[in-house]
Amino acid sequence: MSDFDWGVIARSWPFLAEGMALSALLVAVATAGGLVLGFGLALMRRSRHALVAAPATAYVTVMRTVPLILVLFWFYFLVPLVIGRPVGSLASALIAFVLFEAAFYCEIIRSAIGSVRAGQTEAALATGMKRWQVMRYVVLPQGLKAMTPLLLNQVIIVFQDTSLVYVVALRDFMTTASVVASRDGRPTEMYTLVAVVYLAICFSLAKAVEHYTRARAA
């Protein structure tokens, strides 16, 4: 009880920072890739042709009902098989994250596009714009504004999700801390630190999003 050793944090600091860098990389790639793929999926789901819309709908439904850990396992084994040689867990995890988060970004983008009233599209078409021009100049600018808070909240969720790469032994912030925890026998100090760091980051990000949303609404 009395023999906490907080010095373990100072000693393992560089190692933990490397972990945090990997977490940041995962968030960045998952968000960038997820947004691009999610946008494509959202357009597919809005298509009038069932052959285009149905596969996207099925994909999104599956990804949203399956645990992220299972998806991580899937790609951990599938990617080396498809490529034909070992690629390391980072590549598999990045692919898994992009494909998984794309389903969630797709739904956010789709609802944002849907929130722009149909009259806007009709009016724009009536002015002689082509469909892609309507999307690019009329629907997207308005939709993007509507979805920014949801997108930012999703980024926070992705950051929390990245801690799950623990299961494929990828050394993100959570996993480096757990390595130190078991190496030095200091789980109490390390997991408390992890919780405090995640709480500080996610809480201030969430507050910033809230503030931004409120400032814009006012």
């Binding site: 009902t65 396992f73 098989l81 498809v82 929390q160 109490t188 408390t192 709480l199 996610c202």
Partner: protein, 240 residues
């Protein structure tokens, strides 16, 4: 792709039995943590919407902390840290006498995480129904708690059936993180089969389909409940 498929292997023992027991644990953890999440979530959601000062503040701290720490970290805190920092007698009891410690920890960890999310929905539901019903309820002679129990909560919960369905689905998926503390639930068992047979893709495929079926069943069940008790029924009746 160089891979020999062998679906038959999953029907052989012990692998077939492993999948079933994995599904059993997944359902048990989901049910247990969902029950805890509903109890804590409703309590915190109601406390958060109260006009007093002290209770909403406590509920708000609970919601912020448990929403902003990744569930995996929360699980590790309950499993590795809580027994160490709890009063010595409690800590010793957890370490020596608590039956099924991993199972109980999984329910507590996932349940309290989901509870914070449920609390936000409950608060939104109560707010949507309208806190303006409160003075009317009090004017009829109900005490504040009675007003919540008899008016605000029933109406508020009906309004949030949809969001609660999503939260329940998230809880089912979240049950998979308990594999990190040694629960052999569905995802863990499919991984386990990979370890033994090198036929991971088949076992992951089966697990994926099972999660889909559970998800569909949960959605259908919640829809049926919504039709029977939820707000959609009242909307429909109002429309006709």
């Amino acid at each position: 792709m160089n891979y020999t498929w062998d679906w038959g292997i999953l029907l052989k023992e012990p692998y077939w039995g492993w999948l079933w027991s994995g599904l059993g644990w997944t359902l048990l953890i989901s049910l247990g943590s969902w029950t805890l999440a509903l109890v804590v979530g409703i309590a915190a959601g109601v406390a958060r919407s109260m006009p007093a000062r002290f209770l909403p503040a406590i509920a708000s701290v609970y919601i912020q902390v448990f929403r902003n720490v990744p569930p995996l970290v929360q699980l590790f805190l309950w499993y590795f840290v809580f027994p160490e920092i709890a009063p010595e007698s409690v800590g010793l009891w957890i370490k020596r006498e608590l039956p099924q410690p991993e199972f109980v920890t999984a329910i507590v960890g996932i349940g309290l995480f989901a509870g914070a999310r449920v609390a936000e929905q409950v608060r939104a539901g109560v707010a949507a129904v309208g806190l303006h019903l409160m003075p009317a309820a009090l004017a009829t002679g109900l005490r504040p708690l009675q007003a919540y129990r008899l008016i605000m909560l029933p109406l508020g919960l009906r309004a949030i059936f949809g969001p609660l369905t999503s939260e329940l689905l998230i809880t089912v998926k979240m049950s998979s993180i308990s594999l990190t503390i040694g629960m052999l639930e569905l995802t863990a068992q499919s991984r386990h089969i990979e370890n033994y047979t090198f036929h991971g893709l088949e076992s992951f495929a089966v697990a994926t389909v099972v999660y889909l079926l559970v998800g569909l069943a949960v959605t259908a069940l919640m829809r049926a409940l919504d039709r029977r008790f939820g707000a959609t029924r009242y909307r429909r009746e109002a429309a006709t």
